[in-house]
């Protein structure tokens, strides 16, 4: 009686596909939204600082200051404005025309010739802490190379005895796009798995079709699978699209195995579908289902998964909360797979966590779904 019937399941899956194809909103969530998000994050939002407007205040121009200033003009990181008065520069900073002031004082060249080194004053707009930190780093770098170059030319050893040799691992180009795009895949899969699924289930309740379904010999397991299969395939399709765009449009490297990427994504998709179905057992109209899905799945995946904000620098309480988010484990796997390769010591624990979530959510929704209207 309760055995799975292939005929019934096929009927349900086929129905769902017709509905997906005829409903512009599911196509939009599955294919247009990923493209839209990828374009925004790929092109629009960059966490790198380039062409930062900087005021360079030179109080007494000479050969040395001109040479240092040339460093700023020649760098793609800066868009310098040369001024002679600090007051003017401070106004520019206040009015947000520049993000930082590099101040070379009157006695710059005289003190440079002395061994204690010539100080440059750096004033940074700290409103956006992230950019501020980047600007400080860039200015220090420019200053450092200028000193080295000058030393090499004159044969004089610079006053700073220590030389910092930096090397960046795993994202050697330091392009934020390279970690945003993999993280986005997690967001997109959350949208399809949880939001879309919760919405289409709620729609069945709203339109009274669930009631008609329940009075047929169909089992709740079949109803569940009838939703899982189509949206699982839809989610994989959407993931393939996002990965393809990431690789070929945004030139994000994929160092790990595509198969492993596929496997981890499928696992996360199951967890997300489980969340969507779980929401729909509680929220039986589309508005509530949509709100619950956004608040409990989409926003956390966006803010707390490590997609944009580093989990390590969150307060402890929030860090503990992130442990209960499947998206966190998926984002970590994605970033590792794309930028570092098949690092099993990272991937395996994440796979384990995702498996637990998928089983938990799918199992709970199966238990909560009764062929009853209460």
């Amino acid at each position: 009686m309760s055995a799975l019937s292939r005929m019934r399941l096929r009927g349900l899956v086929r129905k769902e596909f017709y509905q997906i194809l005829r409903d512009p909103s599911s196509i939009a969530i599955a294919f247009l939204l990923p493209v839209f998000l990828l374009l925004i994050f790929g092109y629009g939002i960059s966490l790198d600082a380039e062409h930062v407007p900087v005021a360079v205040v030179v109080e007494q121009p000479d050969v040395e200051t001109a040479s240092l200033a040339a460093r700023f003009s020649g760098s793609s990181y800066f868009a310098p404005v040369f001024l002679s008065d600090l007051g003017e520069a401070e106004n520019a900073l206040r009015e947000r025309r520049v993000n930082a002031i590099v101040h070379l004082q009157q006695d710059f060249s005289r003190r440079l010739r002395r061994t204690d080194g010539a100080p440059i004053q750096l004033i940074v707009n700290g409103t956006d802490a992230n950019t501020a930190r980047l600007v400080i780093g860039y200015v220090q770098g420019a200053w450092q190379t200028w000193l080295e170059q000058r030393a090499a030319e004159s044969g004089v050893t610079p006053g700073t005895p220590l030389r910092i040799d930096q090397r960046v691992w795993f994202n050697s180009e330091l392009r934020s796009r390279n970690y945003l795009v993999p993280g986005l895949i997690a967001i997109i899969m959350t949208l399809i798995g949880a939001l879309l699924t919760a919405l289409v289930m709620a729609r069945e309740w709203e339109r009274g079709t669930m009631e008609a379904l329940m009075v047929t010999p169909v089992t709740m397991g079949e109803v569940l699978l009838g939703k899982l299969v189509p949206y699982f395939l839809l989610g994989l399709g959407s993931m393939a699209l996002s990965v393809a765009m990431g690789l070929w449009l945004f030139k994000v490297p994929l160092l790990g195995s595509p198969w492993l990427l596929f496997g981890v994504s499928a696992l996360y998709l199951l967890a997300a579908l489980g969340m969507g179905l779980l929401i729909s057992t509680v929220a039986k109209n589309q508005f509530v289902a949509g709100m619950v899905a956004i608040i409990t799945t989409f926003l956390p995946a966006f803010l707390l998964s490590g997609f944009i904000f580093d989990i390590g620098s969150m307060p402890t309480v929030v860090q503990v909360i992130t442990r209960f988010l499947p998206a966190r484990y998926f984002v970590a796997s994605l970033q590792t797979l794309f930028l570092a390769g098949n690092v099993w010591s990272v991937i395996l624990p994440n796979i384990a966590a995702l498996t637990v979530f998928a089983l938990l959510f799918l199992g709970t929704s199966r238990c909560l779904m009764h062929k009853r209207l209460e």
């Binding site: 019937s5 349900l12 086929r14 008609a212 009075v215 209207l373 209460e374």
Partner: protein
Amino acid sequence: MSPDAAAQVVLELRDVRKQFVAGARTLTALRSVSLSVRRGCVTGLIGPDGAGKTSLMRLAVGLLEPDKGQITVLGRDVTREAQAVQASVGYMPQRFGLYEDLSVQENLDLYADLQGVPPSSRASRNGQLMHMTGLARFTGRLAGRLSGGMKQKLGLACTLVRAPELLLLDEPTVGVDPVSRRELWQIVYRLVREERMTVLLSTAYLDEAERCDEIVLLHEGEILGQGRPAELREPLRGRTFSASSPGRSNRAFQKALAAVPGVLDAVIQADRVRIVARSGAQLAPDRLLGGIEGATIEAVEPRLEDAFVAMLRERAGAGEGRERAPPSPGGASPRDAGPAPRRGPVIEVRNVSRQFGQFYAVRNATFDVAAGEVFGLLGPNGAGKSTTFRMLCGLLPASAGVLRVAALDLRHAAAAARARIGYMSQKFSLYGNLSVRENLRFFSSAYNMSGARQGERIEWAMEQFELAAMAEMASQDLSLGHKQRLAMACALMHEPEILFLDEPTSGVDPMARREFWSRINALAERGVTILVTTHFMEEAEYCDRLAIMADGEVLAIGSPAEIKRGQRSEGHPDPTMEDAFIALIENRARGAAAT
């Protein structure tokens, strides 16, 4: 019960109780219901909204669990063997359970898959169903694009892909045009005859109940009576009459008759008044006329509605002489003197059309309504009644034509016209979590009332509509009949000259409907013009004049008696309103086919 008799019972409820708990509120859907549905019969579950019909249906198919009692379907206990029961019954929920973005054929295929119909037998069953429902030409059309009547038939076809032993239909005819309704009944009886099916269907229409083999009258979760329609009508034999008084307005006549001591119920029926006499009082019929001059009376066959109303009235406390004088909606207000009836039409509709894209919701409608008239718009869902209303209220501009309300052209003076009209919308538009008093205060302030004047009007509404006892109750907790009263009070706060009522009585019980109409009649007598939409055929008879609409067009205008007279034929020498409606639709279809 003998085994033989047991085999004859397909569905049995024994002492079933069902309650719903929502927060602090407990709602009793069914109190202690026992009934049995016999094999090969069409059993009607009759009652107003909130009577418990849908809960009973859902309990019978195992979608709900009873709190107490036992339900047996085809010899199986529903609570324990829900899956097995569901495999042998067919159930059509209220909104037909169709996927609107799937075509007719795809819907049928889905349900055939779900019901496990073997592919080999599908084609013949399918052809049979399509033939029976007349949907064969529309198999490729999306279900969402079908008319109400076609959706209803597709919903039925979907529940019949595998011939069930027991078919349950939850309000299958709500809002469907009379032609489709009649076709549905033909299909149901064909199924009973040809496939030996047993049918349980619920409806709020008492005229439909007459077509059932057996009926169960349900009211507030209790069974008032069950049996064959004739059995239920029988106690009323000798107590039902039809009176007429030429030259007297039928509203005044009805009011006078309702006040006669021996009269239990008096309702307008076209140009006559139908009377039900009190039980026990074996009066000579003439006594029921209460000495009204020139009036004549004749005995008529009892109807189920008479029986239902008699049961309800007698249950509520017969012989108390509870018949109140109809309220005076002018109340203590300055308008008490009443406006002098204006000459000429108060509402003019001239060649009005309204298009939505390519679709005509209303096409070339023309009618007038005189001051103090009760004018009805009768038609199924989708006929264009609500669109006409919205245009008259200035909520929707007309695509073409002229609309004048209270001599104001709605194109230029919609706001000025709106101040003179009251509007009660289909769903009552009350704020559910505000109390009765708060709703009244809000609606009166929406019409710029404040201070003493507002207080006066609120007191008037409380008194006239008998809402004082529930003044502090949240309006969502009121019964449907009380909600309807409150909605009407809200629409009357600013003393409009014209009142628009959009399906005001759908779903309320016959008592609330009578009370409602007595208020409407009293308003009309004070010179208020009333426009009302309805799909209850018998309600059309209460109107002075009415327009019959279908598919956006006005098919006929006139008094109820005129409309019925116009459709007399050999087959129907004395047509009912429904017969007339069907004849009009068929004439139109023939006219369209001829051109």
